[in-house]
Amino acid sequence: MWSRKHLLGIKELTVEEIQMILDSAVPMKDIIKRDIKKVPTLRGKSVINLFYEASTRTRTSFELAGKYLSADTVNIAVSTSSVVKGETLIDTGKTLDVMGADVVVIRHQASGAPELLSKHIKASVINAGDGFHEHPTQALLDLFTIREVKGSFAGLTVTILGDILHSRVARSNIWGLTKLGAKVRVAGPSTLLPMGLEEMGVEVYSRVEEALEGADVVNVLRIQLERQQKGLFPTIREYARLFGLNNERAKLAKTDALILHPGPMNRGVEISPELADGVQSRITEQVTNGVAVRMAILYLMTGGVADVPR
């Protein structure tokens, strides 16, 4: 039975809660594959996508997830909202509340913004990515994708590659994977590896080759090009040369290793095009799974206690 009001991060979830979401996402994925992709489960519920940061993938994914379940979905993008008139997050949240929102999905550049919102509104809050803190639905779709192929997590080695410092995807993945029993390695330039990562239960490498040795899953993070301008690494060229995932490096992982990427990709920088489109890649499958996982979350958080709709 699901009892959590908000989904703010993976850190506070129990193993059972994570499993419940992943289990619920299985039948949801079947719905997406149907000819008529619509069930009446969330009819009469409203889901608001409150996005303070540009996002195509996550916002569309949440919007379709809501629509496939028959919820009323509304998108608010920061540039068109009253936020540009100086309204605070709390006031915006309260406004959505009194309009009858059941779920507010928030994406925000400030770490902790979803938690702040959750303390001031009655609607359920789902974190769709906050600062460098967490991106729980991305991690859940990554977990779902891994489980689909590998069956379980015990004994798996997952290598997360790239800009860990600025990555909410990495943090949420670390919490989820370690809870489920996988071994997690992280690797990237030492200037992009934040202090105290070991305390999160991961092995830290600055040599990519070592981190890839025998891995079952390689999750490649997007490198944001503006990090280079802040001096965190010398050039995109050197980043690609030292840390990019190419064929040669990919061979260090197991032959059946999965390759994941949360997108959008910088082809030829953090990942070579042939790997992105190759047989090991599950990058497009991740996108489909993202909708399924978000359907499961919306379903559970709006009081879905009975069997998942068929």
Partner: protein, 429 residues
């Protein structure tokens, strides 16, 4: 006329630490001794099982007036001081405008005389507008009553300007109070750089940001022979730098805040913007070093860095909130908690709140020496209260201790022989 009876009097200046009676007449301390007869004309204040100290002095507060009255005023800030047991506060010049001239010092003094409930001592800016460029009219400000100079809130970026400020201030016998921060290292940082910041996804401020600037200022103080006072030190490395400098004979003193003695960076978990302070809350190894340094006398002063903000300024995303927390009304119970747990030596703590700041700023208070103005504080070490926002006299409610149970509150504050707070109530007439 008051007779404060049977209190545990701690007066480090006079080496007193025992049960004493204190006689006050015409706003002046008359006598401190083991037994003073009760006579009919005396108003007796029973201080049995309570601690009697010289009036507490907070040498680092932000009263926000002029210009930032939505955060605090001299009236509200000094009410908060009285509630917190402080009889004197020294206020920082980062108001609007910055207090960088004689006329502005006089304005603060004038408002404080009219509306202040406790003694207010203004601190002038080091540079004009605290812009770090040209020296402010320091001589003028000292004549008007400035007790120190500081660009608190920002560091003096140029080593040459800092050197000149130290050199120039020597003529007036006042300390230069330095806010030590290397802004390139602290840039956009929100909390201490470490494991907690990593988990919370907040940009970190390394300990080195404080220590590098401190090292520079210690070298400049040594080179000039001037008096340097370092505001709010927060790291183990800063403690070591100051210990070494003092051993070399550098004329340096420093302060620590109650929150840096009490809280670690783990307090930031949950993103309470009241825990967003500069310098940031540090991990436990730093906190322990600060406590030891206070006991050892390496740290001279406890000062709150009372930094009130309007509610709407702090009710925002962590990254968007201003730095600072209100400290005047929680300083004493926080210190008393550390005394109770054996972390702090009571006599040292009292000296750090009385004698030491008086010495550094050249104030006459800080002791119960007969003949001096009767500034005095009584603390009930057993009084336990759950702190609510509505209890705070400060306009700023940005305290990380709201809803927490605290013990050891001041129960009487006397300024120049006048009781301004008694039994947790202000006496404003």
């Amino acid at each position: 006329m008051f007779l404060v009876k049977n209190g545990l009097v701690i007066d480090p200046a006079n080496g007193i630490n025992g049960i004493r009676d204190v006689l006050v007449r015409d706003g002046v301390i008359i006598e401190v001794s083991e037994h003073i007869e009760i006579t009919p004309e005396l108003e007796v204040i029973d201080a049995g099982e309570k601690i009697v100290t010289p009036g507490l002095i907070d040498m680092h507060v932000h009263l926000r007036e002029p210009g930032l009255e939505a955060k605090e005023t001299i009236a509200s800030g000094t009410r908060a001081a009285a509630m917190g047991g402080f009889t004197s506060v020294a206020c920082m010049p980062n108001t609007k405008p910055v207090i960088d001239s004689l006329i502005l010092i006089e304005a603060v003094n004038g408002i404080a005389r009219r509306e202040g409930l406790v003694n207010v001592f203004p601190i002038g800016a080091i540079t004009k507008g605290s812009q770090g460029g040209e020296l402010a009219e320091i001589g003028d400000m000292v004549q008007g009553g400035a007790v120190a100079i500081s660009d608190d809130g920002k560091p003096v970026g140029s080593a040459e300007i800092m050197r000149l400020a130290l050199e120039y201030s020597k003529m007036f016998g006042i300390p230069v109070i330095s806010h030590c921060e290397d802004t390139s290292l602290a840039h956009e940082g929100l909390m201490h750089l470490g494991a907690v910041a990593t988990v919370l996804g907040l940009k970190g401020i390394p300990a080195a940001a404080e220590e590098i600037m401190l090292a520079r200022d210690l070298i400049l103080a040594e080179a000039t022979g001037a008096r340097l006072h370092v505001a709010h030190i927060s790291t183990r490395g800063s403690v070591e730098l100051i210990r070494n400098a003092k051993q070399r004979g550098v004329q340096v003193t420093c302060e620590v805040t109650p929150h840096h003695l009490s809280l670690t960076d783990k307090a930031v978990e949950g993103y309470d913007t009241a825990t967003k302070v500069n310098p940031p809350l540090r991990p436990i190894e730093h906190v322990l070093a600060l406590r030891q340094a206070l006991n050892a006398g390496v740290i001279d002063v406890i000062a709150t860095d009372h930094a009130p903000h309007a509610e709407e300024e702090k009710a925002v995303e962590f990254a968007a909130a201003p730095f600072g927390l209100v400290g005047l009304e929680t300083a004493v119970p926080l210190v008393m908690e550390l005394v109770r747990s054996g972390e702090l030596n009571l006599e040292r703590a009292v000296a750090a709140l009385t004698l030491q700041p008086a010495r550094i700023l050249g104030l006459t208070g800080g002791s119960l020496t007969p003949g001096k103005a009767a500034d005095l504080t009584i603390i009930d070490p057993n009084l336990e209260l759950t702190l609510e926002a509505s209890d705070l006299e400060s306009k700023g409610k940005n305290s990380p201790f709201l809803g927490k149970k605290l013990q050891g509150f001041p129960v009487l504050t006397m300024v120049k022989g006048r009781i301004v707070m008694q039994d947790r109530k202000l006496m404003t007439e």
